[in-house]
Subunit: 456 residues, 2 copies
């Protein structure tokens, strides 16, 4: 579990922040420019996240828009929103022009509609405006909304020499050349060309003779998780985006997909922990309460429900109160098993590993839970028998544990599979949802079995 | 929550598997080769994961090692292990030779030591053997173990023309050219060159005049999570690996890092759900029991501990058994709040968002929990008062709920921060660990407060 400490990446120190705040307050622009020149834009964004709004705005206005546009893209959403409010539409237009079209569209999407239109009106490059407006049309979380229009495209009829000439022009607008996409005269994607192949080929060779006709692509309507799956599975660093006619529309790069994968994992993690998505530790108390309280309320209702069930077993309450000492144990085990089995199903579904029939899956979980339940119950039985010297109580608690563990495992397996089949995100079935329902079921089973064994 | 269904990536169908199994059984090699020729190696790996061992081995022996080496790299670890047992050391050496050095080292690491040596002895390319043996030396989960030796490297003294000639040679061993690394005559990394820049530059230009001296790199001893952080933060598709003297040792590509990010997220998710890492839904019942049982045992001990605590409050058990009906509620709320607060800290730590003092963090969580606790307790109090018409019980349960929620929030915040400071993975503090300890604390607090309020 120990981590190596000797070699760690660069981190923003508080002393660095202090120096920068000092320079801002004394308006020491030269020193600021010199320092920020040394930093990567992602590091500057991290620094700005630590400053207050006025200081951050000061830095943004001080630096060149080539750099600030990238910084803006990397900032925390709420910090960016506030800084953008402090900039004029002309200043924002300046930033937008420097960005790749995908980042430009993302930035514009965060502005109020009227302001967005004003910013777009300030951009004189008509082609760029058309590209951005196209990207703004696509639904959120689709391949269309993720892609950029910048790419290097060649026609199959070109020669290698012509191709190199054109690429030199196109490449100026493209930060990194991943792949060269080959299209026919109808703009239909028919293959790709690696820069490597182009370097090796002779000048007069026709592209149609050297391109690779196998090219992975994603449909513009794919959702972002599917794009992530395709790129991760086929180890792609960039993927072209096409429509129904295979017309080449844009390309998605892996760095955007890394963000999708991280966000997806964070969302599932938070759901499993009973937190509504999209909060982080730096959010305010009210935002965090909004994210946490509904799930706690669910737990509260579950607890009251469990109490109401027990309330109906008055013989047990009055004559065998010792039985009540083990309700937290039964409820906790039901919850734990439920969370374990649902988590493994949710993860399997996310990785497309779940194959075969639901019945087989339930049978497997039943055997697994039964095995776990029997082992646990055996220990519990021996312990209780020795501790309390009461065979019947020990038997009631232990037998209940076995049954409860099996039922909890089945519920934890079945609910996410059912949700998935109904096209609902199975991740909501993990965490408080499964714990609460298993608590109630577990206690009901416990009291019914106890009543039977104690013969009351 | 609904997902779009119209446009989805290709998936292996059961009918396709049936066709392939039929062809294997009738030894229809031609049809098999034709079909597999159409598929990406990642898809073939998925198909082989569905076949039984003999069928999968048959396919591996049938196909060319250029393709099978990549297929082997993509297979599930347990399937690969079994197939490798069915191959001779000579056959394995053939596969290893086709792989990039990083994948070759990973494959060799899975073999028993003696077999590994035999395979290496079968490889005639001495340089390749030296590269692989170097990679086998690095500790698991470090940049060294992730990197490949294949890269395109130029010396600052070369000209563009000489460079292009050398690159053509080097590039044959490199699947994708990401960046060209520039080194001085001592092999020290001094910068990089983009293929784009090389295409634009004149033939006689010296590399030292056109290279970009700013180049991100990672130290060979960085752990894999730090490499992932650097690459994600700076949007890198490949990163050079260096030692203390900045000597260029290898390069890591983003596709390997995507796997690290996914594995890391899965590990944290499983820990939060009480599953020891490295199992999936397709593993056998015994592997899954090994992963799940220890955490359940922890829960069992917690439940017995809670019962033992309650056992000491005999006045409550005998005279106020109704109080016992709410122990599952108190325990569940303590567990839920603990999981919420620990998850948000663990996620914040993973994203380097946790700044400032532990005290401030605990104060914030205290205010947050107090707010949540008071809201929940108010509802609970009103409900219990109306239902049971017993002011004292309602008061005891509600006041306890507030205190328990606050304490659970503080424990859930403090433990992961403490573990992180002690250089232990804070993710183990989520899930059953936090639930179990909060159950016990919660019930103890509940009974103490009740005893005080009921004045017994």
């Amino acid at each position: 579990m120990k981590k190596k400490q000797e070699h760690k990446p660069f981190e923003i120190s508080t002393s660095l922040i202090d120096v920068i705040v000092g320079d801002i307050e004394s308006k020491n622009d030269l020193s600021l420019q010199k320092q920020f020149n040394e930093f990567h834009y992602a590091d500057i964004a991290e620094i700005l996240d630590e400053l207050d709004l006025e200081q951050a705005t000061y830095v943004i206005k001080l630096l060149d828009s080539v750099k600030t546009s990238d910084i803006l893209s990397e900032l925390d959403e709420d910090v960016r929103e506030k800084i953008l409010q402090n900039l004029s539409t002309k200043e924002i237009a300046q930033e937008v022009k420097e960005l790749d079209t995908d980042d430009a569209a993302d930035l514009l999407l965060e502005l109020p509609p009227e302001r967005k239109q004003k910013v777009i009106a300030q951009i004189d490059d008509k082609e760029l405006v058309a590209d951005i407006e196209e990207l703004l049309e696509y639904d959120e979380k689709t391949a269309g909304s993720l892609m950029a229009k910048e790419l290097v495209k060649v026609y199959e009829t070109w020669t290698v020499a012509g191709c190199l000439r054109k690429i030199r022009n196109q490449a100026e607008n493209v930060k990194r050349v991943h792949s060269i996409y080959v299209v026919d005269k109808k703009e239909k994607l028919i293959g790709r060309l690696s820069l490597k192949d182009l370097l090796i080929a002779k000048n007069e060779t026709k592209i149609s003779d050297i391109y690779i006709p196998k090219v992975d692509s994603v449909h513009v309507a794919y959702n972002d998780e599917d794009v992530a799956k395709v790129m991760a599975k086929y180890d792609l660093e960039a993927v072209p985006v096409v429509d129904d006619n295979k017309t080449l529309l844009g390309r998605i790069t892996i760095d955007d997909i890394v963000d999708v994968i991280k966000e997806e994992a964070e969302k599932d993690y938070q759901l499993a922990a009973g937190i509504t998505q999209d909060v982080d530790s730096e959010d305010g108390i009210f935002a965090l309460t909004r994210a946490r309280l509904p799930w706690l309320f669910l737990g509260l209702i579950g607890g009251v429900g469990a109490a109401a069930i027990m309330f109906n077993f008055d013989t047990i309450i009055n004559d065998y109160p010792l039985i009540l000492l083990f309700t937290p144990l039964i409820a906790a085990m039901a919850g734990n098993v439920g969370v374990q089995s649902s988590a493994i199903i949710v993860q399997g579904l996310a990785n497309d590993e779940i194959k075969g029939s639901i019945n087989n899956r339930l049978l497997k979980e039943m055997l697994l839970s039964a095995l776990n339940g029997v082992i646990l119950a055996l220990f519990l039985f021996l312990f209780l028998w020795i501790w309390q010297d009461n065979f019947q109580t020990a038997l009631a608690v232990s037998v209940s544990l076995i049954v409860v563990v099996i039922v909890a495992g089945i519920i934890g397996t079945f609910i996410p599979l059912l949700l998935h089949r109904k096209k609902i995100d199975p991740a909501i079935a993990t965490g408080p949802f499964i714990t609460t329902s298993n608590d109630i079921f577990g206690i009901l089973i416990y009291f019914l079995i106890t009543k039977f064994i104690l013969n009351i």
